[in-house]
């Protein structure tokens, strides 16, 4: 077992309930996508797994070290790409020589070796997100949390990075919790898709995806079937959100 959520709920001080009664077991090494409409508490859930937020109900258990990739790369602009990647190691007190070695290795794996000395603002969005992935992997996490990491990228860069992420993950034994609101992305990447409802977020579906990788969601029959049943459920939740927004009842 890598992650255990037991009846997790989160209610904010203003009375808004973001999550309600979420229970999940995620075994080590599984790639899980959390799928749901915007504002369903996916990111709140991830923040709790990262230890950035605490549930107001229930219990979260995360085994091992956690690494995280944020929606925007969230690199530190005053640090070179190398020093950004080595940030977690630096906080652990790893020596400069060793962390530079580790950073160089990771930069090679995300194809950014040439940009080790560059600064974040000199890189494109896709390259920044690659650096953020390298930073998250640098501390050898057992659990990699990803909060819509490719949401702001153009379609081509996005599919390139999805492919690279799978290459980095496969055989690593790492648990990945990947938040997205794109059904296609979830189908392409995950072992398992957890569908969350509109606010307050609850688990309303838990699907296993067994198709072999690399996947082609347009060709594979299993994926097509899943796509069909998931898109109906997802559309209902998205509708609920827009109705709530129109009536001001969020």
């Amino acid at each position: 077992m890598s992650i255990l959520l037991d009846g997790v709920g989160r209610t904010y001080a203003n009375g808004v309930t973001a999550l309600q009664g979420v229970s999940l077991e995620i075994p080590q090494g599984e790639f899980v996508s959390l799928l749901g409409p915007s504002g369903c508490g996916k990111s709140t859930l991830l923040a709790m797994l990262a230890g950035l937020d605490a549930p107001t109900d229930g219990r979260t258990t995360v085994e091992g070290r956690v690494g995280m990739v944020f929606q925007e790369a969230a690199l530190f602009p005053w640090r070179s790409i190398r020093d950004n990647v080595a940030f977690g190691l630096e906080m652990q007190g790893v020596s400069r020589t060793e962390r530079n070695e580790r950073a160089a290795d990771l930069l090679r794996r995300v194809h950014l070796s040439r940009f080790a000395n560059a600064f974040p603002h000199e890189l494109s969005g896709g390259m920044r997100q690659r650096a953020a992935i390298a930073r998250a992997l640098a501390t050898e996490p057992d659990v990699l949390l990803m909060d819509e990491p490719f949401g702001s990228l153009d379609a081509q860069t996005r599919s390139l990075l999805q492919e690279e992420l799978l290459t980095l993950w496969q055989g690593s034994g790492r648990t990945v919790v990947f938040v997205t609101h794109s059904l296609d992305e979830a189908l392409l990447l995950s072992d398992r898709i957890v569908l969350l409802s509109a606010r307050p977020g609850r688990v309303i579906g838990d699907y296993r995806v067994s198709a072999a990788r690399p996947r082609d969601p347009a060709e594979d029959a299993e994926l097509a079937g899943l796509r069909h049943s998931l898109s109906g459920a997802l559309a209902r939740e998205v509708n609920l959100v827009s109705v709530a927004e129109e009536t001001g009842n969020i």
Partner: protein
């Protein structure tokens, strides 16, 4: 394997690693042209001044020639009056600036972190910033007497709030994402401050320092003009010029005071600010 042809932003392609550390130079010829027109403008100004003095449009005791002002300054340097006065004023402004930085930084951090403090004291500080610092001088005279403490008080009151407000807004405008990322990767307590929060507010902090410096220097000059009996600083020399009805001395000292204020800004603050803006990528943002 992965088909990867990383795309590079145009800025990275243009700038080789070393060039990032230099001031921006995309428009060297434009800068040179601007520099030339500026030089020509000042030359014209001095020319007009010289012409007006030469023709005695106003009598020399009202408008001495550029030559006699230069002569006066040269004499002042030679007879050893100017340098000690400069050092005295520099000592006062540096002490006042340092105290302002210490208090301003601590106060700014406190305002940024404690909401109640910000709603009460913060509002008052914003209001107080519109009070010319020399207005504190009579109060300082009664509290401390006519001495260095009174001058220091006026300088600090002039500079401290600019620093305070810059630190406050710097901390406030830090993207929460940076703090979250830092925490996920294990930055706690002092490490969080040292590696993320302080570097994060540096651009705002520098702007506040620069403004604080300008206020400190102005406040000191005002205080020196009103405190003749203290150890002689450049402000006192300006005041003495008036007492002696020596217009060359008055104009010369105005020039000296202006040049010091500008020089510290241009030589110290502008290059550091440019460097930070380039490195932080906040340039033009």
């Amino acid at each position: 394997m992965i088909r990867s042809t990383p795309t590079v932003s145009p800025a990275a392609q243009r700038a080789p690693a070393a060039a990032r550390w230099l001031p921006p130079s995309p428009t060297n010829s434009g800068a040179a042209a601007a520099g030339f027109s500026r030089l020509a403008f000042y030359a014209l100004l001095v020319g007009l001044w010289w012409l007006a003095a030469y023709r005695e449009v106003w009598p020399p005791y009202l408008l001495p020639s550029p030559g006699s002002v230069a002569q006066f300054l040269a004499d002042f340097v030679r007879d050893g009056t100017l340098l000690p006065a400069l050092l005295t004023s520099a000592g006062r402004v540096l002490l006042g600036f340092a105290v302002s930085l210490l208090i301003g930084t601590a106060l700014g951090l406190a305002l940024a972190r404690v909401r109640l403090l910000d709603e009460t004291l913060g509002g008052m500080i914003v209001g107080l910033q519109s009070l010319p610092s020399i207005c504190w001088f009579p109060l300082a005279l009664i509290w401390f007497g006519l001495n260095e403490k009174a001058v220091l008080f006026v300088v600090v009151m002039g500079a401290v709030f600019a620093v305070t407000l810059a630190v406050r807004s710097g901390v406030r405008s830090l993207p929460p994402l940076w703090t979250r990322a830092a925490q996920v990767f294990g930055a706690r307590g002092w490490a969080l401050w040292r590696h993320v929060l302080l570097p994060g507010i540096l651009p705002a902090y520098l702007a506040g320092m620069r403004q604080g410096w300008a206020f400190a220097w102005r406040s000191l000059m005002a205080a020196e003009l009103l405190s003749q009996s203290l150890k002689v600083g450049v402000g006192h020399l300006l005041s003495t010029g008036r007492d002696l009805n020596d217009m060359a001395m008055v104009l010369g000292m105005i020039g000296v005071i202006l040049v010091i204020g500008l020089a510290v800004d241009r030589v110290l603050f502008v290059p550091v600010e440019l460097w930070v803006a380039r490195r932080w990528g906040t340039e033009g943002a």
